[in-house]
Every structure is written in C-alpha cells, then in structure tokens.
C-alpha cells in the first residue's frame, strides 16, 4: 500500500472520529464566532466603513474575520485524540503495522485540513448576510479556504508534535493556548502601520501576521499576490518544519 493510500485510510478514520464527537467540534466554531461578535461590537464604531480607508469600503467585521478564521483553524482537537490513543494503546497497534511513519503523522493532519475547509466555508456563509464580501472573487474564496486549511495543518502539526513528545493531555491542551499571544501580536485590530513601534516590531517578527494579512487581503482587496504569496510562504515553511519534526518523532518513538 502506498504512503498516499495509507495517509488517506488514516485520514478517513480520523474524520470518522471527528464526526462521532461533535462536542469537540462545536467550540471550534462557537468561540471564533464569539470573538468576532465581541471584537466587532467593541471597535466597529471607532472604525466606520465610510471614513476608514483600510476597510476598503467594507465594514469592520470584514477586517476582523481573518482573526476568527485563524482561531478556528488553531484548535487542533485531533492532537488530544492522539494523546487518548497513546494512553489507550491503539497508537502502538498502528505502529506495529507496516505503516509509513510519515503516513501516521499525516493522516490526522489531513483530516484536520478537511475539517477546517468545512468550518471555514460555514463561517464565511455565516458572515455573508452581515455584508462581508470576498473582494478577490471566486479564486480568492478558494485561496482563502486553502490558506485557512494550510494553517490548520501547521497548528495541528505543532500540537501533534507536543502530544507525541509529552504524551500528556494537559501539556497538549496548554500548548493550544499559545495561539492567543501569537494572535494578539498580529495587526489584529488595525493594520500593521497603525500599531505602536514596539507592537509593529513584534507583529513583523510574528509569522501569523503574514497569514492574517494574506487572508485579509483576500477579503478586502482584489488579488494582492504579494500578501497572498507571503501568507502561503509562511504556511509552507512552517508546515515543512512541523511535519518533519512529527515524522522524526514518530520514527524515534519508544
């Protein structure tokens, strides 16, 4: 069986697992929507669409939407399922089969990307009635979904690596919270050039900034290939690092 087939079989199993645990899926949608509503409620009046140039004619919810999409892509619930699998012994059962360690690492990440495609599509569908438009058109919509799914692979891969190293649900859960400081060190509320110099410096060093700016450009502008390219570049480099680390850890797992 080829590595691709093994990955697909394991990914299908992880998706089935997600489908059977809707309780784990619900916060992935509700919490990002809650943040969107609260952030827009707090700051929308400060940034009226008519006089705020960085909104490019849309409302403040359109500016805030990428934060919520990134948050939805950063839950990585499958890493917690992996810890359960390690504790319960099923992970050893899989390791005792002639399965490529790369497929073992990628199976769950594949399911996370598919799950995220569904979640992002749902969140965009929920956003449309509130006047949010995807200014970059259908191609932009596809790129937006792919970028979110790519980030889901990156962050789930990071959490999966923590799960493999620590084999602890508490440590994996805590690592998930690391996304919040990363999110707040981005140009979350205003564009980067309007941040104070220390915050602008921190945001410039933060890779999440480039993914957020890529997503934001797809919502607010026509196709801006520089912002899109930077967003995908961050995802590709980060995904390569976390997947390589996952495979290395799987191969040396004792």
């Amino acid at each position: 069986m080829s590595q691709i087939n093994q990955t697909l079989v394991l990914g299908e199993r992880a998706l089935r697992e997600a489908k059977r645990t809707p309780d784990a899926l619900l916060p992935t949608i509700l919490i990002p929507v809650f943040f969107l509503v609260v952030n827009v409620g707090q700051a929308a009046k400060i940034f009226p669409s008519g006089s705020t140039t960085f909104l490019q004619g849309q409302n403040y919810a359109a500016f805030q939407l990428p934060s919520s999409l990134l948050l939805a892509a950063s839950f990585g619930a499958s890493a917690l399922f992996l810890v359960e699998e390690i504790e319960g012994g099923y992970f050893d059962k899989l390791r005792a089969a002639p399965v490529s360690r790369t497929s073992l690492a990628l199976g769950r990440l594949l399911s996370e990307s598919v799950k995220n495609i569904a979640i992002t599509t749902l969140m965009l569908a929920l956003a449309l009635p509130f006047g949010i438009r995807i200014a970059s058109g259908f191609l932009g919509f596809i790129l937006l979904i792919l970028m979110c799914a790519g980030w889901a692979v990156v962050y789930s891969g990071f959490l999966q690596a923590i799960a493999l190293k620590t084999r602890s649900a508490a440590a994996t859960n805590s690592a998930g919270l690391l996304f919040f400081p990363l999110l707040f060190l981005t140009p979350n509320f205003v564009p980067r050039e309007l941040l104070s110099p220390p915050m602008e410096f921190a945001a410039t060093l933060n890779p999440v900034t480039y993914v957020m700016e890529g997503l934001r450009s797809l919502i607010l502008q026509d196709l801006n290939w520089t912002a899109i390219g930077l967003g995908f570049a961050v995802i590709i480099v980060s995904a390569t690092i976390v997947i390589a680390f996952n495979v290395y850890t799987m191969r040396n797992y004792d």
Binding site: M1, Q6, V9, L10, R13, R16, E17, R20, T21, E85, G88, G89, Y90, F91, D92, K93, L94, R95, A96, A97, P98, V99, N252, D254
Partner: protein
C-alpha cells in the same frame, strides 16, 4: 535452523532523572516455529519491554532480535508483516465499530477495500463478534475487547503472534475463551509468544517457558522439566506447582510478599 523468535544479548536501558535504568539486561531467547512459548516474570521484570523490542515498538539498546528470520532493527516493516501483536490493555479505538477497526487494520496491511471487508467478516465470525460488529467499541465488555484485539492481530495471518498478558482483568469464563482461541490459532500453525502473570495460564497453554527477573532470564524449560528440577533440588515429597517454581527462581516468598503488603500499610 530458523527460529520463530530469536534474541541475542537483548538489552534496553532508559534514561531517567535518577540515572540510567537497565530494564532488560542481555536476554537470549530461541523460540521454535509452532510453539506456544510462555514468558513469565513479576511486575517490572522486563517482560513487556522485551516484547516491545521484539515487536519493533521499542528501540534496542544493544543485542539483536529476529522474528520469523527477519531482523527487527534492520527491516522493521518486513518484521511487522510477519507478526501480530496484542498488547496489555487491549489497544483499540473506542470511537470505531469492531468491523471498522478490522477493516482499517486489514487495509494497513495492504488489502484492498473489498478484501479488507471480507477478512473482517471472517475474523468477526471467528471470534464470535458478528452480532456486535457494527456497534462502537466503547460499548464492548472486557472479554469482547480482548477477542477483537486478538482478531485485529490476526488480519494478515501472522507467522508469530505476540500476546502480552492477554487475559489480565478478564473473568474466568472469558479467560477460558481466550485460551481456546490461543490453542486454535497455534493449531493452525502460528507461533505464539505469550507473557502472563497467571502461572496456571502458562501451565495450561505453554509447551515451553522462560522466567525473567530483574531484566535477566533466570530459568527456561518445559513446565514439567522446571517442576521436576525443583522437586529434585529441594527434595520435595510432592509435585511442585509452577507457582512454587516461580517463587523459587525469583527469590520471592509468600512471607516476603506479606511483608511488602504490611510495609505499604504502615
């Protein structure tokens, strides 16, 4: 001669905060094809660690191990194709049904979707789980989980089956069912490498056994030979049980065990 399981100087050390722990210290083993081989030892003796090394689940610090003639370090995937593994605490995914688990396992061993479905059906019939096949595993009893675990270790018709304490936690009736399964699997030509803490289980099932203590093999032979050796050496006027052999070779006594309990209570 090619042995079903062969280990030479097998060693495993772990690094811990208090220093290096030697879990297995130079184990030599030879298990002939077709045997049911028992691997006994007290808790923490190194049984499970040895099994994990033999089944490619743990790296080997030093020494060599081969299963069905395949070196587990040099060709781990080839070794995995030849062995079936059912570890302590039946390792199953509670969110799948019994059938889904077997189909997945069969597919990971290279079967097509239809071949995997057919094999899953055969195995469900074999372990008498057809009625529960499409229920989630989380609803299975301990005995059903053990039987499913056993079935999942057999999807690819392995040459050597490793069973790590397969009856721990089972009620007497379920234990007898597992024993019958093990005998049937062995009668079909599969070598069985069984670890257990139940000495009557080893006595009932195993043609030959080894006792490990402190990471070293301290006795090896047929149950009959081990008992008769103890009877002669101690000049006993009765046939000793395997329990007495075990207590003798591991240096444990009932009095010492009682003392350990008292210390814990104190």
């Amino acid at each position: 001669m090619t042995f079903a399981v062969e280990a030479e100087g097998l060693t495993k050390t772990f690094e811990s905060r208090s220093g290096t722990v030697e879990a297995v210290r130079g184990v030599d083993l030879q298990v002939a094809a077709g045997e049911i081989f028992g691997f006994l030892g007290p808790n923490g003796a190194g049984k499970s660690t040895t099994v994990r090394m033999l089944t490619t689940l743990s790296t080997i610090t030093s020494g060599r191990a081969r299963v069905a003639g395949v070196d587990v370090t040099d060709e781990p995937d080839e070794a995995r194709r030849k062995i079936g593994v059912a570890l302590q605490e039946a390792g199953l995914d509670p969110r799948q049904t019994g059938r889904e688990l077997l189909v997945l396992q069969a597919r990971l061993f290279g079967n097509s979707r239809s071949q995997a479905a057919t094999r899953a059906q055969e195995l469900l019939e074999l372990v008498d789980l057809l009625d529960a096949a499409d229920r989630l595993i989380k609803g299975y009893s301990g005995g059903m989980k053990r039987r499913l675990d056993l079935a999942s270790a057999l999807v690819h018709e392995p040459e050597v089956l490793f069973l790590d304490e397969p009856t721990t936690g089972l009620d007497p009736a379920s234990r007898l069912v597992v024993w019958d399964e093990v005998r049937r699997i062995n009668a079909a030509g599969t070598t069985v490498f069984l670890t257990t803490q139940y000495l009557e289980e080893a006595d009932a099932l195993c043609g030959r056994l080894a006792i490990i203590d402190g990471g070293r093999i301290v006795r090896e032979g047929t149950p009959t030979a081990l008992k008769s050796e103890l009877r002669q050496r101690r000049g006993l006027d009765h046939d000793p049980t395997l329990d007495e052999v075990f207590l003798d070779v591991t240096g444990r006594t009932r009095e010492r065990a009682a003392g350990e309990v008292q210390e814990l209570q104190g």
